[in-house]
Amino acid sequence: MSTRFAMAIDLRRCVGCQTCTAACKSANATPPGVQWRRVLDIEDGRFPDVSRTFLPVACMHCANPPCMHVCPTTATKQREDGLVTIDYDLCIGCSNCIMACPYDARSIEHTPHYAYGEPMQSETARFDPDRLSVATKCTFCKDRLDLAAVTGQTPGVDPEVTPACVNSCISGAMHFGDVNDPDSNISMLLGGTQHFRMHEELGTDPSVYYIWDGAKNGADA
């Protein structure tokens, strides 16, 4: 069975520190207002019966990605390993993919934005005009995953070839790996826990799993 990269996020462990958000921003140099990864803070209930859940979200790299189906230019593609990618040279910025994505994972910026109005040296150095007026989103740090093919390292195990958000997570809530490999770290974790995928009823077959409890028999991962 071919590789399918996936992410598992243990909601029991996430503390909402937004370190993954910052790591993504640092790794991908997204402008102010654009966050390929973010952590939502969901409060529910009425005092004293209340709950608060931190929910990290980004592109779910769906196996059946609606963004790819609607894209009129074939800029949005799907790789053999399950990653959903955007070819910035083909994209016309029609925003159809943004409407198709049920995860609010995509952004389009039509003008450059800088943190303090005028660009800082670091912003100038990392500014990419190819990303203006086209759709952008989380790439699962595909350059790192591609490096794994060269170095022989294992994504999700070796930090050099693991997405920046996963590396940065201070609470060990985020995990990454090949979900089609029964011996991978992520497969074993998912096998011992109860989890869901966001909006599964829409048939998108997302590649991000959210762990909400231990195994039904009481054994915890």
Partner: protein, 298 residues
């Protein structure tokens, strides 16, 4: 960072801002133009020279395409739109457009009845592509139901018939089409009820419900009942002025509906937790879906 750029608050469904009035103009003008092409083909056998109506219809489609061209981020790459006929309804819409203009131009230049019908049928296909383009967007609950296709296509047909009735002032023989307009309005009313019922059954963000519920009464009376009555009386009594009023009301209401659908009722899916996680001593809890009035359990 102002509120509109604060993306940390995207837990709730939010009104989409990426398709604005320019995108809506494509659905409003393109839909009305496609509907008018078909309506003109239907009326073309009645002896009058209706070629000016084809010019109006093609101009409407052209205005819609121009508006959407002005909206896309990289307009000079617009021809890339033709690269995904396999799955993209936007590509298919773009492929129909030149055929529609070519057949319309042949009908205008040579006044061939067959060309009228080819243009009319392509107009129907064009509006179907537009409706499917909305339906394919799973991220917008107000659009993704199959019943959305029906209500959009019938609205486009109503607008076409409505514009034909407006033309009854110039070509009195068209006043008969007030009856057709009334019949189409009855069909659209059924499609509208079915659309609302399907949204209620499947669930939509509460903000979407509020927008569509606010539209409902005015849309039914001003967009259906009033133009249907005017069109019926105008058509049966042979009164072009009434038919024209019916047409104006029907076309304006259709445009307002599509603007509402594209720009105002289009809230995103938001996020949901089928179960809240267990933490420490606390057990896992029931699901949460902020901004919705139901939670789909695991």
């Amino acid at each position: 960072m102002n509120k509109s750029r604060n993306i940390g608050d995207r837990t709730l469904p939010r009104q989409q801002r990426n398709w604005d009035g320019r995108a809506a103009a494509n659905f409003i003008c393109g839909g009305a133009g496609g509907g008018l092409l078909l309506a003109t083909a239907l009326a073309s056998g009645r002896g009058a020279d209706l070629r000016p109506l084809l010019v109006v219809a093609l101009a409407l489609v052209g205005i819609g395409l121009l508006a959407v061209w002005l909206e896309i981020g990289r307009p000079w790459r617009a021809l890339n739109v033709y690269l995904n006929a396999a799955t993209s309804w936007m590509t298919r819409e773009a492929m129909i457009a030149p055929l529609l203009f070519a057949s319309g131009a042949v009908a205008i230049l040579f006044n061939w009845p067959a060309a009228f019908w080819v243009a009319g049928l392509l107009g129907l296909v064009y509006v179907y592509c537009q409706a499917c383009m909305l339906h394919a967007n799973k991220g917008i609950p107000a659009w993704r139901h199959a019943s959305c296709i029906g209500v959009v296509v019938t609205t486009d047909m109503v607008e076409g018939a409505g514009l034909l009735c407006v033309a009854a002032l110039v070509w009195p023989g068209l006043v008969f089409f007030g009856i057709l307009l009334a019949a189409l309005l009855a069909v659209r009313w059924l499609a509208w009820r079915k659309y609302l019922a399907s949204l209620r059954n499947a669930g939509v963000p509460t903000a979407t419900s509020q927008v569509l519920n606010a539209l409902d009464v005015r849309f039914v009376w001003l967009g259906h009942a009033a133009p249907a009555a005017l069109g019926l009386v105008g058509g049966l009594a042979g009164l072009p002025l009434l038919a024209m009023l019916a047409g104006i009301l029907a076309a304006a209401a259709g445009g307002w509906f599509k603007y509402t659908l594209v720009c105002r009722a289009a809230f995103t899916q938001g996020f949901a937790l089928p179960r809240t996680p267990s933490r420490g001593q606390s057990k896992a809890g029931l699901g949460v879906q902020p901004g919705w009035n139901r939670v789909r359990p695991i």
